[in-house]
Symmetry: C2
Subunit: 256 residues, 2 copies
């Protein structure tokens, strides 16, 4: 198994993805929000890139959420805070999620011809490793980043995936330079993710917006047994819980 | 002081460099070779991007060196091994150096309008920090990378510059996400740079080419008291030892 990490969005366009498993990481906050929505019983999550596209999908049984600049868009039901995606808000409903960086990274993985696309954050790290290891494919982890650049928390979470895959697959795992670097970040910062978020530019931006309470939710390592998995439905890509872990007790991972 | 690190060459084109101090890092091997050449008494080093351009500058008192794919180009006097740039080979001569990644990063810094451009590797890290700290400017570190992508040893060396600048400038230093990540890499790997090189894709490639003896030279932390500094001469950018450290005994840093 070959493990590659794309640390910046600029690399998403040109990296070879065909036949590979792509894992999209946008810790603050799309990954975490998508995992929360599916854990709360949303029917599925439709990632969209543009506000108008999101609003066009509104209707009965649909919750439209997302952000621009970190804040809820006009006309949307919810923002991009994982705390908003409660069972009361989303259970049984389709969630249309429009975010800046995460959704674009998912779109890049699809355009690049990845064989499978998963979404991972710190909250579902262990189960994402399990699904990725079982896929038996080379893995490319796409860090969503921020404003087109490097994001500390995404690279660190990518490193958690690398560490887990290397542990599961042993010497079979061949890590790129970026995969090795990301693993170093994870080993250095895994025990204080909240501090990591308060160092990161995106984390500080969320605190400035009054959204600092999102950070502890995004830092809850292995708190969810849900791995969002991209499938084709209604002629568009939608995210569903991967069947290998879907339906497990969401508290299971925490107790493990 | 704001410290930014550009981890991948794709970021060099778009990052704002005007008015800033740019430090170009290409540990394996352009940075190390340029430092060795100037430490060995070369008159100056002319970085060029293309083989034909390098050959056109050949003539009396000129040594033409460099590589494509790690190997010496046809018609060149020397390759890109720092071990070749001895006093016997280069003292008093102009060195025209054509390398793949390092030279391009220097060109990107010039095109981006950086106020000053330095070259740093592990061998001149301490003195590069000294010159950069004294410049009183915001700093952007350009990792040359490899094949357009991330390079482990360049990012780690950039982190050494970040750590040194943050130590010298204290709380005044504001680090970007990438600067913080690079610093983590340096703190994790500074004590075993040879191991770092044997993990890195570029280091393994050099070993495969039979150039493994270059690695210990590139890993000699603070062994040289030379900081290459870009100036205009003969209507082209050339690298000279920065006057703040030029002329010191090259053994000084090792003993310090």
């Amino acid at each position: 198994m070959e493990i590659e990490v794309l640390l910046t969005p600029g690399e998403h366009r040109t990296a070879p993805l065909a036949g590979r498993l792509a894992v999209v990481v946008d810790v603050l906050r799309a990954s975490t929000t998508i995992v929360e929505a599916l854990a709360a019983g949303a029917r599925d999550v439709v990632p969209v890139a543009e506000v108008a596209e999101a609003l066009a999908l509104a209707g009965p049984g649909v919750v439209v959420g997302g952000e621009r600049g970190g804040l809820k868009c006009e006309g949307f039901d919810l923002g991009n805070s994982p705390r908003e995606y409660t069972p009361a808000a989303v259970r049984g409903r389709r969630v249309v999620l429009c975010t800046t960086n995460g959704t674009r990274a998912i779109a890049a993985a699809v355009r690049g011809g990845a064989a499978e696309v998963l979404v991972a954050g710190f909250t579902n790290l262990k189960h994402a490793v399990g699904v990725a290891a079982a896929a038996g494919r080379d893995v490319t982890i796409l860090c969503a980043g921020r404003e087109g650049g490097f994001s500390l928390e995404d690279a660190t979470c990518a490193g958690g995936l690398v560490a887990g895959l290397a542990y599961r697959c042993g010497d079979v795992a061949r890590k790129s330079d970026a995969a090795f670097a990301a693993e170093t970040l994870f080993r250095a910062h895994r025990d204080d993710l909240i501090r990591l978020f308060t160092v990161s530019g995106h984390g500080r931006h969320l605190v400035d917006l009054g959204l600092g309470d999102d950070l502890p939710v995004c830092a809850r390592l292995n708190s969810r047994a849900v791995v969002p998995h991209l499938v084709e439905a209604d002629r568009r890509p939608v995210l569903l819980p991967h069947p290998a872990v879907a339906g497990r007790d969401p508290g299971e991972a925490t107790r493990a």
